[in-house]
Subunit: 316 residues, 2 copies
């Protein structure tokens, strides 16, 4: 058995995992990212954790260290000016880690890592062309083409959450209008629900007494699964929009499958049924039958570590 380290860097926490080649996370550790303002002590403590994880589990050697990080640049091994990190500037993780351990280091962003993790450890095993959509606060994506992650010329390719779905549509946090993210992220789903509820003066469902600002996509998901008509309609719209976005992605790379993960997908059929219908309706006929929609097979609390560890497979 061989082993790799997967590291998921978030603004608050940095999670590390020792991952066996069969995709089992043998042991985990974490340090608070926001306790650091300098790279060197941060990496020092990170490497201390990794050293301990290896020793405690009798692992002598690892294939490498994979890192999923906001603004992680695959080409340079650096994190470039990530707005939500307390450590500022262009951070050369690869160089700094090599002071401790001369193993391959691979960085990418979290949606890319999730896609690659699905290929190495999850439901995309054996596939060479697929796309992962991650729904959460925003919408991310990772694209695998001919077995390789698509990083493009800048390293930032695969930002399908910011493809414009509706010209002059909803205002996005990126400052532009009509991005997919504004319709199918958790926030987008809440906005759709609130808009539909407003258009339904006789709404008497379970969220009647909850203010717009207190509604979450989880509440809407639960209501939909209880048969709430406005919540169900919300997911009809969401599935419709996401289905169009997915067929657009198919015109680009003709994937074998499109994977879906993230909190807002947990609602299940209220989203999946209209999504499949929209995908089928909007798919260009030459692609009919060539691509299906699947749920990620990785556990929500493991995907970030597994995805990061999987990135190492690109370098060995």
């Amino acid at each position: 058995m061989t082993y790799a380290i997967g590291i998921d860097i978030g603004g608050t926490n940095t999670d590390m995992g020792l991952v066996r080649e069969d995709g089992k996370i043998i042991a985990r550790a974490n340090i608070p990212t926001n306790a650091y303002t300098e790279l060197k002590p941060y990496i020092k403590d990170m490497m201390g954790c990794i050293d301990r994880l290896m020793k405690e589990n009798g692992v002598q050697a690892i294939e490498g260290i994979g890192i999923g990080a906001p603004n992680g640049n695959f080409y340079t091994g650096c994190v470039d000016n990530a707005p939500n990190l307390t450590i500022k500037g262009v951070l050369n993780f690869e160089e700094e880690i090599h002071h401790y351990m001369p193993v391959p280091v691979v960085l990418s962003n979290d949606a890319n890592a999730a896609a690659y993790g699905e290929m190495v450890y999850g439901g995309a095993k054996g596939l060479t062309n697929f796309i992962m959509f991650t729904l959460g606060t925003g919408v991310g994506s990772g694209i695998v083409l001919d077995g390789r992650l698509v990083h493009g010329s800048t390293g930032a390719a695969g930002e399908l959450g910011h493809a414009i779905l509706v010209p002059e549509g909803r205002l996005c946090s990126c400052g532009r209008k009509g991005c997919l993210e504004t319709y199918t992220s958790a926030r987008g789903i809440v906005q759709t629900f609130c808009e539909l509820r407003k258009e339904t003066p006789d709404y008497a469902g379970e969220l009647k007494a909850v203010d717009d600002k207190d509604i979450t996509s989880k509440m809407i998901g639960d209501a939909a699964n209880h048969g709430d008509p406005v919540a169900l309609k919300t997911y009809e719209h969401t599935g419709y929009w996401l289905g169009i976005a997915m067929t657009n992605a198919v015109t680009f790379s003709a994937p074998q499958a499109i994977f879906l993960m993230g909190g807002p997908t947990k609602v299940g059929e209220p989203l999946m049924k209209p999504l499949r219908e929209s995908f089928k309706k909007h798919l260009l006929n030459i692609f009919a039958g060539s691509c299906d929609i699947r749920m990620s097979e990785l556990a929500a609390n493991e995907v970030a570590i597994l995805g990061a560890a999987a990135l190492i497979k690109m370098k060995i």
Copy 2:
């Protein structure tokens, strides 16, 4: 100097060219595609032409034969049931050609060939990530990523003309609604002009006396360059739509450049100015400055042959 053969298969004519490695077309020949209903005699005559082109020009050997064809399947070397060919069925060009000449044979569709031709012989020399949009009766595209043409899992990737730009928008010839093609093809441009003219009862421009059904995109282009306000507005809309489509493509593959070719682009600034403005306005900020829009540098009457010949570079 080495040589390749480029073949452009259209429904009416099949154009062949002997191409020198520096991109000069040494000699050309053609046969009428629609005079054939069987593959064998068609290939026999094609190979006769190629043999003659080589002999007449003292060329002993070629690197291979590249073919741009409707429904050309890169993976199989076949043309699969092309609706506009009089030779029906799945046509195994590669196998049939090998009865005459044991050289590499590569097939792809015409927009893919144009993209690859731009990389080998035109303005994309030295680029490894770019996208070609071809505007004509329809809108085609060819995508190059990490120096390779994107064919996807089916061989049919790169159909950005059928990405849905406006959900529930204009009806497309593919049967779906809102495809980019319905807004930015020659037909789309004519439709936009006719719609805008209808909304402008006091229109007194040079196309006032021309019926909707007789308007061509060439006429609208000329009128725009003469200052016709409705024609200019037509290209403002066209550039706006195409700019959004291009920024959406950037979110996918982060190209270094987007190339543009085809009849409707010949109008020049009336299209290019609003296109550049829309592209700049709609580009996600992380891609700012990483990608620009360029015109194809290949001659309109050479691109099909050169693109087809260039495909051979993928196999050698």
